[in-house]
Symmetry: C2
């Protein structure tokens, strides 16, 4: 079933600021260097293109995730590595997207403690959410359901991005979704 | 730029019943036999997956077409042949989708006279629309803007589906989007 020429979906889930987009870009760069076709489906960008007008109620979030899942499904069954980087807070709709996939769906939990996210708070969003200035902010004023049995877990509060990247790539190689990176001799 | 391994988008536009879906399936079968990855983006199916809740106002139709265009763009820039089969009645949004593409966008006008569509009327929709029972039915009670300079035109009121298919494939070969079909010797 798996093989280095088959597409698959690498689905990141985790809180805002945990490192999903950064990891998605690092993975893309690495896999493109191995000759793979890779497409990042970033939560914010997909919202603009596919879900304008949707809000942050459970229903609207689920609809947005189903749409990202549909596009990931089409890409992955056509040989592309689809890398989804959206909070995707609800377990049930993540599982629904997994079931709809023909290609392999690799759920990857980008785990970072709320304490650490509040400490970093690069965009100042957690401070705002804690002051009650953002409605429905996942992890503060809106639920986040961590995966029960993710295929891969990285802990970005105690691993560097480089180490998290290594963890993910090692697991993708172990599961034969990607070939080991070729070793080039220096000219 | 073009080449037999690059993705492209084959975008059908035309009235309901003109033969877009039938042609899309015939093209897919042919290109898959040539070893290509092909994904059909059918208007009705994409509406269910990406545009639930949208209606048939100009604005909603345009939004639906932009979403199909976004998915076609992602597929085609990753080596897939994206075949869009949606009425896509408005010229401006078709042109907008074309401009957003990195891969080649081949606009294909599936031209069939309204007289012939009313005569065939396989789903009974034209009769209903002419009786005023369907609001905003393209070609009867809602506008259809034919392409001014389509890359390919087929006339399904005077060509068979097989002939239309041949017309399209010949043009795709001429433009080097697909390789000529290999000739197999009979065992």
């Amino acid at each position: 079933m798996n093989g280095p020429h088959n597409g698959f979906t690498l689905w990141f889930t985790g809180l805002s600021g945990a490192g999903k987009s950064t990891l998605a870009q690092a993975i893309r760069d690495d896999l493109v260097a191995r000759g793979r076709r890779v497409e990042i489906l970033d939560g914010d960008e997909v919202r603009t293109n596919l879900s304008k007008g949707l809000g942050f109620s459970k229903e609207d979030r689920d609809t947005n995730i189903r749409r990202i899942g549909y596009v990931a499904r089409l890409l992955s069954r056509n040989g592309v590595v689809a890398v989804a980087a959206a909070i995707s807070p609800y377990r049930e709709v993540r599982d629904e997207v997994r079931r709809a996939h023909e290609a392999t769906f690799v759920e990857t939990f980008v785990d970072c403690s709320l304490d650490e996210l509040v400490r970093r708070d690069r965009k100042g969003l957690y401070a705002k959410a804690l002051r009650g200035e953002i409605d429905r902010f996942t992890g503060v004023s809106d639920p986040y359901e961590a995966p029960e049995r993710p295929d891969i877990t990285v802990h970005t509060d105690r691993q560097t991005i480089e180490d998290s990247l290594k963890t993910i790539l090692a697991e993708l190689e172990r599961q034969h979704h990607v070939s080991p990176r070729p070793v080039h001799s220096v000219a």
